[in-house]
Subunit: 343 residues, 2 copies
Amino acid sequence: MSNDERANRVPTSDDVALLAGVSRSAVSRTFTAGASVAPATREKVISAAKTLGYRVNFLARGLSQQRTNLVALIVSDMDNSLRARTVDHLARGLATLGFRPLLLPTEPGEDVGYLIDMMLNYNVNGTIVTSDTPPAEIAQECAAYGVPLVLINKPEVGTHVSNVSIDTATAGRLAAEELARVGCKRIAIASQRRASHTIAQRKAAFIATARSLGLDIVGDFQGSVQNYGGGAEAAEAFIASCIEVDGVYCVNDFMALGFLDQLRRLSDLRVPEDIKLVACDDIAEAAWQSYDITSIRQDPKAVADAAIAALSKRIEEPEAAQPHVIIPVTLIRRRTTGASDPI
Amino acid sequence: MSNDERANRVPTSDDVALLAGVSRSAVSRTFTAGASVAPATREKVISAAKTLGYRVNFLARGLSQQRTNLVALIVSDMDNSLRARTVDHLARGLATLGFRPLLLPTEPGEDVGYLIDMMLNYNVNGTIVTSDTPPAEIAQECAAYGVPLVLINKPEVGTHVSNVSIDTATAGRLAAEELARVGCKRIAIASQRRASHTIAQRKAAFIATARSLGLDIVGDFQGSVQNYGGGAEAAEAFIASCIEVDGVYCVNDFMALGFLDQLRRLSDLRVPEDIKLVACDDIAEAAWQSYDITSIRQDPKAVADAAIAALSKRIEEPEAAQPHVIIPVTLIRRRTTGASDPI
DNA sequence: ATGAAAGCGCTAACAC
DNA sequence: GTGTTAGCGCTTTCAT
């Protein structure tokens, strides 16, 4: 009843072979990269395939080739715009290379078992993790089943695993140097109670550099989560403490947004006149007029590309070394450290 | 050389059958929902599977069952936080029902052909589209190959397709009513030059209601894109026009953020004292202190759930009717229409 | 270069 | 309830 006579069944390579008057093998070869088919044959096959609307069934192909080209993307915190952007880049990059991303969202507290089931049930050829809870369990299963694994911004967990991380040491250092540069002496930190791996690292690097530059770190005010709300909490704690500072380091931009807003609402302190502020990540929101935050930029596309490169290398050469790739960061000066208001 | 003696090969149902001393069918039945296996047999199989680390290969299962449980998620604009959130809900909801989302990002201008290849190459059992460009071509291919399709916030495209949309009529109406309620008379609209489907609809509804309430719509200022930057552009156009208004309708929150920021920077007009503002979507950022925007809330989880429900119903009963599901919206009053500043 | 045949891992009739 | 058999759609030796 459709406008198309062959609508009721998806055509198979047999159908194409029949129509083209060749064998199924010829069809297969026509659609295989390094094939060896006579131009004439190939031509017949192509045209038959076109009229039938034939497409290779990758799942069947995967079954015989032991290669599905499916890649599991284990993701948490998708409402973090930086995360979402990274996932977007990952999915696009993977697609370009012929891989297909299976999106597996997860929450910090959630059961990891189902993720492992998914990876293994669907025979993924690789896994990229960019969730906040670094599941050692996943690494273990991947190792046991020989699934290449790439961790983004996670601690190293073994030799079977590739890591891609931003340069947290430089990120922390640049932030401290910037606060010193603009004359800060007494610094407060706004951070998260249960800091994630990279956050803890950049914070440690910040503290080390700050000390070496003679900055006093007079308080560490923490929010329960590393987002806008957490930043607001940190600001409340800071204001309640009545500690005087001339500079603040926020461990990420989201917290900085909340911190700034709450500071404005609950105090008369002005940024940057009374307090300078540096944050980290340079998400799009950091550049918004109402905030205009000096931040340490990380490039989510570079991170995604490196992760994909590491993964596909692992897939091609399973025994290759697993380097830890470090993605560089750069300081972006804005109004919160006195850079002139852009017009 | 691994810490695990069977590391070199993924166990198959044959391995399990052998170890359990049963047939492969028994293994299959043990892992099939409505099976009929003797408890003793099942027990043996389960334990053998556990010691071997066996998992059903869903791809092989899909091959024989004609059902992969893979669902294509065609997504654009992942850096829109509302979109990201919707995708997150979609992925989780699908996972709960045993479906696996294949993430296929796309850009408005991009070639749709590769998406279709992907859907068909991987034999997806369904497709959900939440990109901004509504590819009629996708709908056509889905129909031709019998792939159930659900469109989110897209125009209706045919009877084979399910639609899930927010209630744009109410969204537009509520916005106009709110501006009228707070005493506005002369209204400007901030919108996008090439409006997406729902944006165009909500705007039309807004205009209709505004007229019926006696509001004057004295200008429609447009940005090139429907995000922060586009809102800023709209504000610039508005300010340059020197048209006086006492109310502004922004077609979405992202534009409202940019509009407000640019208004603050380029003019002395204050919101809400001089101008009231209503936007749409109620994204998280709308509630941020620096903006605190009255908005029309849409619930991305409700949208995702409805889309999944529609899809899974379609998958179970391919011939079922394709209703257009409308998701309700609600007005959230905040400071930009004079709601008291929350503490 | 091409076809025949075996097999990827699984499920589903079908007999027992 | 269980094993046997055939087959899902494809790739890949192996002959030719």
